[in-house]
Amino acid sequence: MAEVKKNEEPRIGVFVCHCGTNIAGSIDVKAVMEYARTLPNVIVADDYQYMCSTPGQNKIAEAIAEQKLTGVVVAACSPRLHEPTFRNATKAGGLNPFRFEMANIREQNSWVHMHQPEEATSKAKDAVRIAVAKASLLEDLVPKSVPVEKAAMVVGGGVGGMQAALDLANAGIKTYLVEKSPTIGGRMSQLDKTFPTLDCSQCILTPKMVDVYRNEGIELLTYTEVEQVEGYIGNFDVTLRKKARGVITPAEAEARGIVGGGCTGCGDCVEVCPVIKPNPFELGMAPRKAIYIYHPQVSPLIYTVDFDACVKCGLCVEACGEKKAVDLEMKDELMTVKVGTVVLALGYDIFPIEKKFEWGYKNYDNVITSLEFERLICASGPTGGHLVRPSDGETPKKVAFVLCAGSRDNTGVGKPYCSRFCCMYSLKHAHQIIEKIPGVVPYIFYMDIRSFGKMYEEFYYRIQDEGAKFIRGRVANITEDPVTKNLHVNAEDTLLGRPIDMEVDLVVLAAAIQPSAETEKTRRLFGVSCSQDGWLLEAHPKLNPCGTTTAGVYLAGVCQGPKDIPDTVAQAEGAASAASIPIHRGEVELEPYFAQCMEEKCAGCGLCVNQCPYSALALIEKDGRTVMQVTEAKCKGCGTCGGFCPGGAIWMQHFATPQIVAQIDAFLLGGEQ
């Protein structure tokens, strides 16, 4: 299509919404409606309490049919909220839905000029005039239908990612689960027990890990990172980097012709490895060899070589023997997979709480974080489940838990948000030490206890009854007795109104959480926005909490904002459901905002070709001339080419130059001067 159709004489209908008092509270809706009637091309103007309601939408459809309208303008909320609604109403009236234009007189007018009714009304009139100018030039457009690849990808193999992958696979969709570390399981595998049920975290997680590993619909890609993303909803081409693991699986061994070979997880290699490094799974509190598994329950059970630490002595190769599973010459591999939709479940990291130097973490031996506490109290942890003071290995008798350590902190050092699960796990920790250490007293320094979930408040009462002491007040600072290594916790008890200097054996900081280190890079690859704190931005906080503004990319778990395990799993199921819809439909409609070349104007200079980030433009020979051609399937409608073409030869559908210029003219040259 190169020709631009001449429109017939435009006949525009304008509909102004009151939105209850949201708009009508500061804008004179009747005056805006009356004004609309005076505008060129406007055949009918009306107003209604709620344009988005069924009667409101019916008004539009009826007016189109009765008045033979060629364009519709609704002055209401943001097009980012209700453009689809009113496009449907336009379609219901028998008009092409792309002949609809919206004037935003709520988010960008009545709500932000609440106390300036005159100015707001005048601005609304301008907005309507601008929208009518554009609507007068709109044309019929047909969305492009593209087939959807019957496969999905989940990035992140924590409990959220695992749940999403299982749901997708169980819905009959081939699912790639990409995890950067050598095993799935995520943060939850580092936890000892879960609140408020106190069931063992590994006991409920490990079966799920096995389910993921065994599920035939899931292709589990551990030790793999996303390298590059191309394409769009329905057709993402994702390039993955399979990091060199140094160890091959039985399947890979078979492919190499090694009979009965590959890693069986026997661990003979570990015995002989001479390199000792801190184990990150145990937060450095236990040693790890250069060839390792994170923890006994890993899935898949395959060893991994830490090439940063490995000295390539070859002892592990010898120990492995005939299985020939260890390959110290292994290199990273790139692979590309095609998927229809993507779920991001990128998880979180612990805030580096040493930045709050007043609490002495990393400076005083006996100040630990809650995640370190989890490992110390866990039977499979570095101490076999015995909570000890790092300084002397003694069992602590007085333990202080410092809540909101870096959370709800507006000093600029910490995080302004509530990390949402620290209250609950600190209650759980108090319970665990009461259970394990006779005569221990847990002191919980809190600002508020937020026990917001099902059975959570009941759990709080239970811990109170068990003897935990609660002190309301943020801890000001912690100092160490250099001889005993005991700690002095200084705080104000804000209920009693007096300062406290309490000597304790151990301090546990409920450190804030922050987006995981990979979040920033990965979100940019997928084109997903983030909030100011770095958490990924959902399409709408209430109505679309799993979606993003990038069609086909969905969010699960903490990467969208702090969540506990039940909320993470629930959102993962939501994200999986959302991600499965386009796949099950089999095709998606792309908005027809494609660039078109107006060949009669095109000089064939080719300057636009380099402007396109998607390589959608190319020069071709046609009728003895060189002209540009758009590959619509690749064009995403940004219009960067159209903003650049020196000859004005590019027609950006729905954002065409005459349409934008008409808006500019309508604002500046039209109206009540």
Binding site: R80, N109, H115, S529, G643, M652
Partner: protein, 141 residues
């Protein structure tokens, strides 16, 4: 100043994904700002032909704001880079034709920066009020 009733006419051309969403968020948060700016939505600031801006000044705009995503956050990878480059060049054109280049402004407001949008609005209106009516106004009609 010639006309005491003069009110600045400022046009903002903003991208759908970041600044428009940021402006919507400012609305949701009821952040109050001066009502002197009219916004036109485009899918990406990369869409903005410098001629649109010249047209706006020719029509008598007192100021033009272009606002898009932060660098690296563009929904279309790099449209905002290209827009920034064009606006930079356009500013020198404006200077050369005798128009104060402060009348053209490019800002970067993300979808989560409602408060920043409010501050940008305050600031742009303040700047244009200080500069007064565009000298091109008398040619506008």
């Amino acid at each position: 100043m010639a006309d005491e009733n003069w009110k600045p006419k400022i046009i903002a051309i903003i991208c759908n994904w970041c600044s428009y969403a940021g402006a919507d968020l400012a609305g949701g948060a009821r952040i109050q700002y001066p009502p002197d700016i009219r916004a036109i939505r485009v899918m990406c600031t990369g869409r903005i032909d410098p001629l649109f801006i010249l047209k706006a000044f020719q029509d008598g705009a007192d100021g033009v704001l272009v606002s898009g995503c932060h660098f690296g956050d563009c929904h279309y990878l790099e449209g905002n880079f290209k827009a920034a480059k064009r606006m930079f060049l356009l500013k020198s054109v404006l200077k050369n034709i005798g128009l104060d280049d402060k009348r053209l402004r490019m800002t970067f407001v993300s979808a989560s920066e409602g408060a920043k949008w409010g501050m940008v609005m305050e600031d742009v209106v303040k700047t244009i009020n200080e500069l007064g009516p565009s000298p091109l106004k008398e040619f506008a009609r």
